[in-house]
């Protein structure tokens, strides 16, 4: 234990001045890059780390990880800013923040939403980092608990909960979850590499563009940002329709984080655990946390209209997963997400082998613990800088809408284009913009579609592995049965709630009817 504590302390000493001013400076550079990347839609953490990798050849391991992790750790934090202010997710992992964060900005609560997003992000990041620290000795049994059948059921569970709880209509939510899964099927089939649903009969040679699948960013900005831009242009107002005390709103958001401490901690736990499971990543963590926030609230009708819990949950989860997804990377060399897969390249460049050596106090454990501290320190710095400039950021929502529309359209199309540098993605942005606009108009909830798209690939891969390994027998595994029961409860619960509400409303009506007769 003493050796672990010494390594934990050494991890901190090795990233701060005066012992390592060079490491601290490199972390600041990484944070600045991550800050910008988080705010600019379409530029993800994975692409950024890939671009930064060539610069670490001449650095020592502490400098290299301060540089890379400093950038990676803050992208989700600053990605929440554009999600709240403009309804355009700065990162794929901050899309869930749009659902309630942007309606809050529209109702003049941008400061509160940003305060809540940033503070919950900080709490989540610290939680995730310490999960990484604590999990190091006990990590292996946790990962081994979940096999392919349970992974498949977990994906279905996530979609069911978001579908059932994110809007008024459960059936429409489930249909859209299924539609998201269908969108994830577009492209080359994972096992046979045969093109599926690429509309070759309609698009001819252009269909090759769809072989690569449908871009999540293009769908996200189309679904959420285009309807907002149309509404902003149609109303002729600013994003925020009401004036409120801006800084007071920020502090209210900070207080919300501590008022809802149980929610923030449970969503941080969800994020860290999802991060720990290889392949699920932040895209999943934020939506499961959102579903948990809705499910645990007594007043579900507020969600999607500006409920602060809908900001706190995803904000905490998408940062706590940063610590969680480093656990399998460091311990087993199994990356938890795309960006940690690229980060694995940094281990190779630095001559480090993930596994026991990274967990050995006599070898690289201080470096592993320095990763914990980098996540904590970089998020503290980022949130402090954000709070300093929050007043100016909130003012943007009070600007005349017509001034913002060209800027928003530029961000939307850049966000769509920069993922693959393909004009085809701009077509997808417009197409899903129209779909999103119709969904708002005809009362269809949008979040289940996105979750289906995020989880589709994972669900298909695990269904195939489960069927190949166990035949139909995987359906009888205890974990699968438990998750199936949770799915049934998730679907039945809104119907039960509605039935209970109708029953509660009946007696007064009957009394009234008796009086009339």
């Amino acid at each position: 234990v003493l050796e672990y504590l010494q390594a934990f302390g050494a991890g901190l000493v090795n990233i701060l001045p005066p012992a390592r001013s060079d490491v601290f400076l490199m972390m600041l550079v990484g944070i600045a890059i991550g800050f910008a990347v988080g705010i600019l839609p379409g530029l993800g953490a994975a692409a950024t780390i890939a671009l930064m990798l060539p610069f670490i050849f001449t650095m020592d391991p502490f400098m290299a990880f301060a540089f890379l992790l400093g950038a990676k750790a803050v992208t989700a934090t600053t990605g929440d800013i554009t999600s709240v202010l403009f309804g355009v997710p700065g990162e794929g992992v901050t899309a869930a923040t749009v659902v309630d964060g942007h309606p809050m900005a529209k109702s003049g609560e941008a400061g509160r939403a940003l305060g809540a997003a940033l503070m919950s992000s900080l709490v989540g990041a610290i939680f995730g980092a310490f999960c990484l620290a604590l999990a190091i000795p006990i990590v292996r049994p946790l990962v081994m608990l979940v096999g392919a059948p349970e992974f498949f059921m977990l994906a279905l569970l996530g979609i069911t909960y978001v579908a059932a709880l994110s809007g008024g209509n459960v059936l429409k939510g489930l249909v859209l979850g299924g539609f998201g899964l269908v969108l994830a099927m577009v492209g080359l089939a994972p096992l046979d590499s045969v093109p599926r649903y690429t509309l070759d009969w309609l698009l001819g040679d252009e269909a090759i563009f769809l072989w690569d699948g449908i871009s999540l960013i293009a769908v996200t900005v189309g679904l959420f940002a285009i309807p907002e831009i149309i509404e902003l242009g149609t109303s002729g107002t600013s994003i925020a329709r009401q004036q409120v005390g801006k800084l007071g709103g920020v502090m209210e958001g900070v207080k919300d984080t501590f008022r809802q401490w149980k929610l923030v901690l449970s969503c941080s736990g969800i994020g860290a655990y999802i991060g720990l499971l290889p392949g699920l990543g932040g895209g999943t963590a934020q939506w499961l946390a959102y579903a948990h926030a809705v499910q645990s609230s007594p007043d579900k009708e507020r969600f999607g209209k500006g409920a602060v819990e809908g900001v706190l949950g995803p904000g905490a989860a998408n940062n706590s997963k940063e610590g969680g997804d480093l656990i399998p990377t460091v311990a087993f060399g199994v990356p938890g997400s795309v960006s940690t897969a690229i980060l694995l390249g940094a281990f190779i460049i630095q001559g480090l082998v993930p596994g026991p050596a990274m967990l050995d106090p006599a070898q690289h454990l201080p470096l592993t613990f320095s990763m914990v501290w980098i996540i904590v320190v970089s998020n503290v710095i980022t949130v402090a800088v954000c709070f300093l400039f929050l007043g100016q950021l909130v003012k943007i929502t009070h600007m005349k809408g017509t001034y913002l529309i060209p800027f928003l359209l530029l961000l939307v199309y850049l966000g769509g284009f920069t993922v693959k540098n393909a004009f085809g993605d701009l077509v997808l942005v417009v197409l899903f913009g129209a779909v999103g606009w119709l969904m708002v108009r005809y009362d269809w909830p949008r979040p289940p579609l996105l979750l289906g798209l995020v989880l589709g690939g994972i669900a298909e891969k695990n269904l195939f592995i489960a069927t190949g390994a166990y035949g139909a027998g995987w359906l009888l595994r205890p974990g699968v049965i438990l998750l199936a029961l949770l799915i049934v409860v998730g679907i039945a619960y809104p119907f039960f709630e509605r039935w209970r509400a109708r029953r509660a409303a009946k007696p007064p009506l009957l009394v009234g009817a008796a009086h009339e007769s």
């Binding site: 600019l40 309606p103 529209k106 109702s107 809007g167 008024g168 209509n169 059936l171 429409k172 489930l174 249909v175 859209l176 299924g178 539609f179 899964l181 269908v182 099927m185 089939a189 046979d192 045969v194 599926r196 831009i229 149309i230 242009g233 149609t234 109303s235 107002t237 329709r241 009401q242 999607g304 017509t402 001034y403 529309i405 060209p406 800027f407 359209l409 530029l410 199309y413 850049l414 284009f417 920069t418 540098n421 004009f423 701009l426 077509v427 942005v429 417009v430 913009g433 119709l438 708002v440 108009r441 005809y442 009362d443 269809w444 909830p445 949008r446 669900a459 269904l463 195939f464 069927t467």
Partner: protein, 167 residues
């Protein structure tokens, strides 16, 4: 603009068609040869088609007024009064025109030219802004785009289909 019953029915019908297409391809298309590739589409497509048919039936039975699951805002006495339906319809169409206009501009001229040109056109013709804010915002947006995405990040922006033959 209140959503019409026919519109809501047609939108719900689109999902039935999508799932029917997914199943048809999985059964008679690629799925005939590549049986492993159709496992997931069948597992998802069949229950989703049934659900979509139920939703379609419910949409056919329901009236034209439906409670919104994602209403923009709760009614607020301090908020601006709602727009006349005809004005809202005209402005919505105009905004869709600009959304498509930006897309076409970027496709035809490329980002570098389309960004300042369309920003200027939108602010002057679409929003009816005065000259000073129009020119100022056009320059600012171009500097932001060119400085960050083109110069600093060096993202590759193709010239657009109209200008490609000239370069």
């Amino acid at each position: 603009m209140s959503p019409s019953r026919a519109g809501r029915f047609a939108f719900a019908a689109c999902f039935v068609l999508v799932f029917a297409y997914v199943l048809a391809e999985a059964i008679w298309g690629y799925g005939e040869t590549f049986r492993r590739a159709r496992l997931f589409p069948l597992a998802i497509g069949i229950p989703c088609l049934l659900l979509a048919l139920v939703v379609l039936g419910l949409e056919a039975r329901s009236g034209s007024a439906a409670p919104a699951s994602e209403p923009a805002l709760a009614p607020d006495p301090a908020a601006e009064p709602p727009l006349e339906p005809a004005v809202a319809r005209r402005r919505t169409l105009a905004m869709w025109g600009w959304v498509l206009g930006f897309f076409l501009g970027i496709w035809l001229l490329g980002f570098t030219i389309a960004v300042p040109v369309l920003t200027f056109l939108y602010l002057k013709l679409g929003a009816g802004e005065r000259w000073v804010p129009t020119l100022l915002l056009t320059v600012l947006l171009f500097v932001f785009f060119y400085g960050v995405f083109d110069s600093a990040l060096r993202l590759p922006f193709p010239p657009g289909v109209l200008l490609e033959p000239l370069l």
